[in-house]
């Protein structure tokens, strides 16, 4: 067992966890933040993507103990109270989700994509969005509306 402390969605949290506990397990099982999902066991589907020290990271690839001292944001921490984050709002507007299982990881990855392009002073286009989404599977939407939603949110996020 090891003790870990981190900041999750702006709150300081700590716990004793088994060494092999993954960050995604810690978020779901210890903190009850079940918006972060597990869709595979080979780190490919992206359902578990969270913001980790300012970057999108698959939380199944990080041990909870590695995250000691980290700053983590999950889908539960993205909206401003009842007001959806622009990416969430555009996902709703453009019907970019169906079953919703891949959605939290997809939204966090999309926000991160916009942040990175903004930093680089580049603009996203369809080709770039499709390429950037290679770490996130969606089985429902065929990606069509996800791409539309991200392209609609990007200008609002400076990308």
């Amino acid at each position: 067992m090891a003790s870990v402390s981190m900041t999750v969605n702006g709150k300081k949290v700590s716990a004793d966890v088994e060494n092999r506990t993954l960050l995604v397990q810690y978020l779901r099982e210890n903190l009850g933040l079940t918006g972060t999902h597990v869709g595979c066991d080979t780190s490919q589907c992206g359902a578990c993507v969270v913001e980790y020290n300012g970057e999108a990271v698959k939380s199944c690839t990080v041990l909870a103990v590695q995250a000691d001292g980290a700053n983590v944001k999950t889908i539960e921490g993205l909206a401003n109270g009842d007001e959806l984050h622009p990416m969430q709002a555009m996902f709703r507007e453009h019907h970019a989700l169906q079953c919703g299982f891949c959605t939290p990881g997809m939204v966090i990855a999309a926000v991160d994509m916009c942040n990175r392009y903004k930093k680089l002073g580049k603009k996203l286009d369809e080709k770039a969005v499709r390429h950037e989404l290679e770490g996130n599977f969606c089985r429902c939407t065929g990606y069509h509306n996800i791409v539309k939603a991200i392209l609609a949110a990007a200008p609002q996020l400076g990308a």
């Binding site: 079940t34 918006g35 490919q44 889908i75 709703r92 019907h95 169906q98 429902c140 509306n145």
Partner: protein, 795 residues
């Protein structure tokens, strides 16, 4: 009045929770004192289970119990039932071997469950499962259907020595033979419809719970049809009265068919919960999904079509072998028969059709319905052979279809393979799609691609599908062991809000929005005052769930019937309130009025009067406003359409790039065009996935080669383009909403359209056939083989 909700692209009501992490999927649920179940699965495709030594596992830290099939047998637990009895040639019943919840005699596929370990934590269960020592005697395994049918092949089941589940036929063989005898041209094709893994993004999960106080069980499960699970598991497996069994299917993360069936894990957690007196939770790893979720497709087919000198189809002859896997999944036997062969007329007037289907047991994961279920297989076969026939006879691919389409004037149309189509304008769908894709300008685009060294191809698929399997009496006569209706309850509350309880289940389809749109218009109640409740057998009277694109056509119709009853009762209450004769009361836009007067009363006031019946016709009416209806359809619905793919192949790498994809579909009346388009997009990508990327591969001895996302190629965003989709609304003639369903269409049309485009692009090299998936390697090899063949011919 408010603008009509039906037909509007209303944004989804379920999105708020799903976008903020507030959804509740099965694995998000945790019950007090819950334990965790880990399954010991067979690493062999075929092996005798000689001995199971669980003693070490039972003593491991945190372990609560270890169970094997012997423990289930002691408790009289039954096998997993099959829901459809297919009768083969001469009325011979299919072979239906037992499907034990935990295998006791033999393991029959990779992943076959052998034992379970239940522990205080997931980790403890997982660690202890490694300690369960199973003594296997490996047996020769057979994964390939042709090998399984050979004399002397290993028998998967003793009950089926030749591995044949059934040998079934449909159609008029003599008429087909006669038509072929006088044909001007015969086109032949032999093809494989590759096996797929459904891979809904949410892995299956289940939690079983037993309440000592009431003697009742609760099962939370990732199901598309909780009432069906209650029926099958309660009645056949665990013998729990339905009154003592609650099944909840909360938010479900996609299904695509794979979450229809009753699986062993559901019975195991429910049974074990009572055994150990604590809730039991199981969640599949993706690796487990690959070897335990029912898989899709897997046909090998030979087909020939007879044409006269004008290109008119005279007859179709089809021989198909369909893989059932190691056991019969819930609806497995019905897929390659009643949902496949009955669709072989397609959109065409082909007067004579004969199809023989042999269903085969192999040492592979069971096969059942996967999005489209039989209909993509029929469409793929038919549209591939039609385009080959066009190429061989020199008739344009659109023209040959035009010459053979069933005209709208011929509706209702009886096909030679049992179905009666009620409606559709097939010519219009195709002409619209041709216009959308600029078919006339294609030659120019092909030439332009050629200049860049690329091979361009265009391919079409026209399709018709039979949705909302019905009516129950007919399905029953064909071997279905369930009814195929739907239930709905429309409950007004005293203050005028409405709760609708539906037996349909949503796992991405957006019923909470579309059903509310139907109710908002039907009752004249603001959509925000309507709640749609689904997925809980304790709340909803009964339900057959969601599959086969049936929800709006069957579930939606049940809601309309229940609303009709509410309005009929409301009229009598309103007549009393307005002191009018009930015959004079009309209902429109949420108001009851007396014809020819300005007297009216709002439906919310009527609801209030029904629940606070101070001024009420007690002699003739009971208080309350809450009606239930069951709707059993008169016929299938028949969505249809035309999909066109235009692709470009890089001959140096074999890569297929989809330049554009256009779909024109007739889903009957559209409730929410935004949601319908989304269903088409998703379906099309699953079709493209099958055509270009996805393939479930077993080694000859039954090892699953593609057991993870490392090896099984899921479509990603940069594998596919954006799409142009449009609809033509030709209303269904026999349900109250005029709807046909849209869930599977994309998957049905896309695979055939893309493969026809690939073959079209390669036809200039003398290539007339390629099986799915047309991966870069497969395409590149075909091109190299063709080049070598041409070089050899020149020498």
């Amino acid at each position: 009045m408010a603008a009509a909700a039906v037909g509007a692209a209303i944004r989804r009501r379920e999105d708020a929770r799903l976008l903020t992490g507030a959804g509740t999927y099965t694995d998000d649920i945790n019950r007090p004192r819950q334990t965790y179940m880990q399954i010991v699965r067979s690493p062999h495709a075929h092996a005798r289970v000689k001995k199971i030594d669980a003693s070490k596992a039972a003593q491991a830290k945190g372990v609560v119990a270890v169970f094997t099939g012997a423990d289930l047998e002691k408790d009289g637990v039954g096998g997993l039932p099959c829901g459809w009895l297919v009768k083969g040639k001469g009325g011979t019943a299919m072979i239906e071997p037992p499907h034990r919840v935990l295998a006791t005699d033999k393991a029959r596929h990779i992943g076959d469950p052998i034992a379970v370990v239940i522990a205080d934590s997931r980790e403890a269960a997982r660690d202890a499962a490694e300690l369960v020592a199973v003594d296997y005697e490996e047996l020769p395994a057979v994964a390939d259907m042709n090998a399984a049918l050979k004399a002397g092949a290993p028998a998967v089941h003793d009950e089926a020595k030749d591995n044949l589940c059934y040998d079934w036929e449909i159609g008029d063989k003599a008429a087909v033979d006669a038509a072929f005898a006088k044909a001007a041209h015969v086109t032949k094709i032999a093809l494989t419809n590759n096996r797929l893994v459904p891979n809904a993004m949410e892995p299956r999960a289940a939690i079983g719970e037993f309440d000592r106080a009431t003697g009742g069980y609760t099962l939370y499960t990732t199901s598309q049809n909780p009432h069906v699970i209650r029926l099958l598991m309660g009645a056949f497996v665990l013998k729990i009265p339905e009154s003592k069994l609650r099944v909840v299917a909360p938010d479900v993360g996609g299904g695509f068919g794979s979450k229809i069936y009753h699986y062993a894990e559901e019975a195991l957690v429910t049974w074990a919960a009572k055994k150990i007196g604590r809730p039991v939770k199981w969640t599949a790893d993706r690796s487990e999904s690959f070897m335990s979720d029912a898989q899709g497709r897997d046909h090998i087919t030979q087909c020939e079509i007879a044409l006269d000198k004008n290109g008119t189809f005279l007859a179709l002859r089809v021989f198909t072998r369909a893989n059932m896997g190691g056991y019969l999944s819930t609806f497995g036997p019905a897929i390659p028969t009643y949902l496949y062969a009955t669709l072989l007329a397609g959109l065409y007037r082909t007067p004579a059709i004969y199809c023989e289907v042999k269903a085969v047991f192999t040492n592979t994961v069971p096969v059942d319905a996967y999005r489209g279920a039989g209909r993509p297989e029929a469409c793929y076969l038919l549209e591939r052979i039609v385009e080959n026939a066009a190429r061989e006879t020199g008739i344009d691919k659109a023209e040959i279809r035009r010459r053979n389409f069933i005209p709208q004037s011929a509706m209702p149309y009886q096909t030679p393979v049992a179905l009666q189509y009620d409606s559709g304008d097939f010519v219009r769908n195709m002409e619209d799609a041709l216009k959308a894709v600029d078919y006339a300008g294609y030659a120019k685009r092909k030439a332009e691609s050629g200049k860049r060294g690329k091979l361009r191809g265009i391919g079409m698929a026209t399709y018709i599908e039979a949705c909302g399997i019905a009516p129950s009496a007919v399905a029953g006569a064909l071997g279905a062991r369930a009814g195929l209706y739907e239930s709905a309850e429309v409950r007004f509350h005293p203050t005028g809000t409405v709760t609708v309880f539906t037996g349909s289940h949503q796992h991405g389809q957006g019923h909470e929005t579309t059903f509310a749109q139907v109710v908002a218009d039907g009752l004249g109640v603001p959509i925000d005052n309507i709640e749609i409740v689904h997925g809980d057998t304790d709340k909803i009277a009964f339900g057959m769930g969601t599959y086969g694109s049936r929800s709006i056509a069957v579930g939606g119709s049940a809601i309309v019937k229940a609303m009709d009853k509410v309005i009929a009762k409301g009229k009598r209450i309103a007549a009393h309130l307005m002191e009018a004769s009930v015959e004079d009361v009309e209902f429109k836009d949420g108001k009851f009025s007396v014809a020819g007067t300005d007297k009216n009363v709002d439906i919310a006031q009527v609801a209030f009067a029904a629940y606070v019946p101070h001024n009420y016709p007690h002699e003739e009416l009971e208080p309350g406003l809450d009606e239930t209806a069951f709707y059993d359809p008169k016929n299938f619905t028949f969505p249809n359409g035309c999909h066109i793919a235009e692709i470009e192949i890089d001959p140096e790498t074999g890569t297929v790039h989809i330049a554009r994809f256009d779909a024109v579909d007739d889903f009957g009346k559209i409730i929410n065009p935004m949601i319908v388009a989304g269903q088409v997009h998703g379906g099309v990508v699953q079709g493209i996935g099958q055509a270009l990327l996805e393939n479930c591969v077993y080694s000859t001895d039954g090892q699953l080669v593609t057991g993870s996302f490392n090896d099984y190629c899921m479509p990603r965003a940069d594998d596919v383009p954006s799409f142009t989709v449009a609809t033509n609304e030709v209303p269904c003639t026999h349900n109250p909403l005029g709807v046909k369903g849209c869930g599977e269409a994309g998957t049905i049309g896309a695979g055939a359209a893309v493969m026809n485009a690939v073959v079209d692009a390669l036809s200039g090299l003398g290539i007339s056939h390629l099986d799915m998936p047309a991966t870069p390697q497969a395409v590149w090899r075909a091109i190299q083989n063709s080049k070598q063949g041409q070089a050899a011919a020149r020498r």
